[in-house]
Amino acid sequence: MNVAIVKYNAGNIYSVVNALKRLGIEPELTDDAEKLAKADRVLFPGQGEAGSTMDYLREHKLDQLIRDLKQPVLGICVGQQLLCRHSEESDTDCLGIFDAEVKRFSPTRHEDKVPHMGWNTLSETHSALFKGFGQDEFVYFVHSYYVPVNPCTAAVTEYIVPFSAALHKDNFYATQFHPEKSGSVGERILKNFLDLTV
């Protein structure tokens, strides 16, 4: 299987590469339009600040390219946020696949710390990504911004507010958590993504 990872100015993507290698996949890291269009699967990981990453995607014409992808695409973390319509982070217009507004957590209690960092549970999972899942499986999160629950929500996690731990619409999938850092549960999610029937 030909798996491509969108190459852009995102932070650490080595963990995504390593996780795919553990599943027997050698992903290609590329910003080449033809290679991305031809790949069987595309991963769009992210770490960093929404404004500067969107600027980079636009400058390199990757924004339209990502919107036009037809194969299963998986956005991770900031990747999920960039697939939404708009982010409060630096008041950034994003890719608009998911019609949702990305918001910053505003804690109301001292013990609610931002970023939301660590292991939390998934509920209301309904997407092929979570095939074979039971209740309350834990995955690993690190984020300060979140996507509210909306019609594309494919899994819910509760931290300060209930938010979209995952999204799904057509061929676009996204997770706010890091499947590549979520142990065996994360591996199952990545495997489900690779196994999607197209």
């Binding site: 650490n12 963990s15 290698k21 970023p115 960092m117 660590g118 292991w119 939390n120």
Partner: protein, 252 residues
């Protein structure tokens, strides 16, 4: 459900082998760091910490190679530390696949290092480790693995680190470390009350109850331990099952 309290085995690494001291001396061998980390991950550890205890004195190359192997083989987050003094050290370790770095002595000597790390790589990668000891005049921070006393107060320094953008505080009570009589829960609870970032308890785990107390009395977000895990005195699956029964939210 809510965000789970984390159990973090810490692996001190010297010349490619894990070791653990009692009160920072008398090192004993305890296995291959990558194999050990993988075993902990399989048992349900939530994160791992690898400390290069030779870093201040010797080359970093062996350790960076080990970090690369850990990143390739292990699917949970891990922090690396020990002798990190420059932004270039941080970059090298993150590029090798580490999720977070912990800074200790160098950050006390040059606090700007915390701002630099968080500006370049984000707060979430920057763990500020503090070794401190309680005296009659209060808690004081120490440098170089507990060898040099400073005039910095634990709580003031932790607050400053937090204000400068640190993502987490890893607090080791030197008097509790290695003696297995429990964590410094009063100081931990005070840190939790005063800071707006997660606190990792370190130093003092000997029994399961100590973890519970660090979470419930010490209000810690995570508890780190080494020898009780390395020598099999406490097994993580049993520890977590017990903690859950005691009302601590842990990932099982």
């Amino acid at each position: 459900m809510a965000l789970a309290k984390r159990i973090i085995p810490c692996l001190d690494v010297k010349n490619g082998q894990t070791v653990k001291g009692t009160n920072f001396v008398n090192l004993r061998q305890a296995g291959d760091p990558v194999e050990l980390g993988k075993a902990y991950s399989d048992q349900g550890a939530d994160e791992l910490v690898y400390l290069d205890i030779t870093a201040s004195h010797e080359g970093r190359k062996t350790f960076t190679e080990m970090v690369r192997r850990v990143a390739a083989e292990i699917s949970i987050p891990f922090t690396v530390g020990g002798g990190i003094g420059e932004l270039s050290d941080v970059e090298q370790l993150l590029n090798a696949g580490a999720d977070k770095v912990s800074v200790n002595s160098a950050a006390i000597r040059r606090p700007q290092l915390i701002d630099d790390i968080t500006r370049h790589f984000g707060s979430q990668v920057c763990v500020v480790a503090i070794d401190a000891k309680e005296t009659e005049e209060g808690w004081f921070c120490y440098l170089n693995g507990g060898r040099i006393r400073t005039e910095r107060n634990l709580f003031d320094w932790a607050k400053e680190a937090c204000d400068r953008g640190a993502g987490e505080i890893l607090f080791t009570s030197m008097d509790h470390d290695g003696v297995k009589e429990g964590y410094a829960n009063e100081a931990l609870a005070r840190l939790a009350d005063e800071l707006t970032i997660p606190v990792i308890a370190s130093g003092g785990a000997g029994r399961k109850e100590h973890f519970r107390d660090a979470f419930l009395e010490g209000k810690s977000d995570a508890a780190l331990a080494a020898s009780v895990f390395h020598f099999g005195e406490i097994r993580i699956p049993e520890l977590k099952a017990w903690l859950k029964a005691e009302g601590v939210n842990v990932r099982i």
